[in-house]
């Protein structure tokens, strides 16, 4: 999936900023520190805004382009913020032959967004992911930490309704 860097204004709390500083301080000077730093920064902020990547580059004393190169290379790293509810539809082979594309279609219609997008009200974001390894339950989608397996496209409406306040 093509990655786009978010233009949304970046806010952080003093706690978040302090945590990030601690992470950077702990990894400074280690070989291969960029990836663990990005993993942990994403845990703190939920995504990797430009400002955070700049801090990591400066803190670890590596060029920003290298940090940006790594963050765009791996699909786990997200450059856009996630919605309050994050939906991930598995498009691994087992799910695909069992109709995961139809589940994804239904969600897209229902929410009016494409994969790698977030609804305007910030309630839902959507990604199409590769195999989460629950092939026995195909087709599978996850909403936040909840896993829904053995899905039929028409079950989508009911599942989404649970997360609409």
């Amino acid at each position: 999936m093509q990655k786009r860097i978010s233009n949304l204004p970046f806010h952080d709390t003093p706690e978040q900023a302090q945590k990030l500083e601690e992470v950077i301080a702990g990894l400074k000077g280690q070989e291969g520190a960029v990836m663990p730093a990005l993993h942990q920064a994403q845990d703190i902020y939920g995504y990797l805004p430009k400002e955070v990547q700049q801090k990591i580059a400066k803190g670890l004393n590596v060029p920003l382009e290298e940090v940006y190169g790594v963050s765009t290379f791996y699909s786990q790293f997200s450059l856009t913020p996630k919605g309050r509810n994050h939906i991930s539809v598995c498009l691994g082979t087992a799910c695909y032959v069992k109709g995961a594309d139809k589940v994804l279609d239904r969600i897209q219609q229902k929410l009016g967004i494409n994969p790698e997008e977030c609804t305007e009200d910030g309630a839902f974001s959507l990604t199409a992911c590769r195999c989460i390894g629950a092939c026995g339950l195909a087709p599978v989608m996850t909403v936040n930490e909840d896993v829904y397996g053995r899905l039929e496209p028409e079950e989508v409406d009911g599942i989404l309704a649970k997360y609409m306040e």
Binding site: E31, G32, E66, T93, R130, I132, G133, G136, L137, A138
Partner: protein, 596 residues
Amino acid sequence: MFRSNVLVCGGTGCTSSNSEQIIEKLNEEIKAVGLEKEVNVIRTGCFGLCALGPIMVVYPEGAFYSRVTADDVKEIVDEHLLKGRIVKRLLYQETVVDDNTTKSLNETKFYSKQMRIALRNCGVINPELIDEYIAQDGYAALGKVLTEMTPQEVIDLMLASGLRGRGGAGFPTGLKWKFAAANQADQKYACCNADEGDPGAFMDRSVLEGDPHSVLEAMAIAGYAIGASQGYIYIRAEYPIAVKRLQIAIDQAREYGLLGKNIFDSGFDFDIDIRLGAGAFVCGEETALMTSIEGKRGEPRVRPPFPALKGLFGKPTVLNNVETYANIPQIILKGADWFKSIGTEKSPGTKVFALGGKITNTGLVEVPMGTTLREVVEDIGGGVPGGHTFKAAQTGGPSGGCIPAKLIDTPIDYDNLLAIGSMMGSGGLIVMDETTCMVDIAKFFLEFTVDESCGKCTPCRVGTKRLLEILNKITSGNGTLEDIDKMEELCYYIKENSLCGLGQTAPNPVLSTLKYYRDEYEAHVVEHRCPAGACKALTNFTIEADKCKGCTLCARNCPVGAISGAVKQLHVIDTNKCIKCGVCMEKCKFGAVVKK
């Protein structure tokens, strides 16, 4: 001592269907009836039969409960654990014999043809307790190696066993070790590839979740054999349960002195750290994986120099796959002759497959090499459900190919699969029926490789993109016969010129489907027809006048309002509005909606 042991599957599949809640509820209910000193609840790794999860097994009876819900727990506790009456209605039906007695799991079709070496402890022990692993001869192989064998003897044993890499290519493990041992350096590494990127494959995850210590033990053995003191496990961040159990296992092994300094008082030091992947398929390739551990973009490097000479941080490195490692302690303990007695001459041992797709018993199976595809699909897998027919099995993920129904009696091993245009790969085995379009499947895999191509070399970066464009043209009905020929030529070009395994194997899904299903490609371009009815641009839904009762069910369910018609009148689909989702066809009770 406990009088009953209740094993609940804590693998990803069963956890996704709420096995955690079941464990909580079990503990509550057991306490409520005062049995907490008599009944032991154990969270194990994967049992393999994921289709029937969540799974619970009660010993000593061996009662195998399937698709258990939290609401069933009280009944199981009250009836089975308290009164000793097995709750038959919740048993896996295969284990219930006609005369109302039950039979052992190993006599069921799913398990009887399996042989478990790599998975031997999965679903048997609690993976978070090192003592349970040790009770199953755990770390005995490491002890034997460190106290009775020289590194050269270990390598000779591995060579004699004929073990081949389970990650896909099947390179002899002993040979890899021999090369790395021969190179002198101040630091060497023994690493584990747990970046199971093939969509549809989850063997390695299950081993790590169910029996993490077997991998740690084998890595230490590899370290001793080649002279390495540090190991890394590169694991996908998408596998949170496996990462957690692995970390627990490493901590416990360190505490017991089975990792760290001076293991078994032999003077041998070895420690292991975890490195998280971040979702890049190319990182399953060995040089890309090492670049990624170094914290960079996971792009492959030119070989030679091979990792055995210059690997991680430029030092000699061996990298083996999880399943390969899981076999090693058993080989050390039982010997090369035992291992060679299993499987085929050139591919000894067993292989774990992740069965998925259109098959009844989805899950994890381990069979001796040389088992035929028919035995795996029909006997163990229980065949294709829903009255559909078997069309093909896809092995090897995006690097592999499709095995057509006419070759279903092929014994599965590395060389046979290569000969018929597929490959073993890491062990994903996806079953397809007649509703799967082979052109669409080839397109699916190409979309994957285009996405995952790292972009370093041109044949892969540009070539796979062009391949996908041609496939899109064909599936949208605009292809020509020349396109098919051009595509075939391009496939060989990409295979021969790409830098790493990803590009070299990326055209395989196209080539193997072209080989066995060329007629389907031709139907798309000549007749503008998708024989399987899967390619949306080439299918139209219509309502047959003589079957439609005018019940309005289809119109009410159509998400785009493309169906019109009054009650008890013939309904009509507006093909301009129709998005071909197929809901109308699923909903119609009279079979009036047809796909053409």
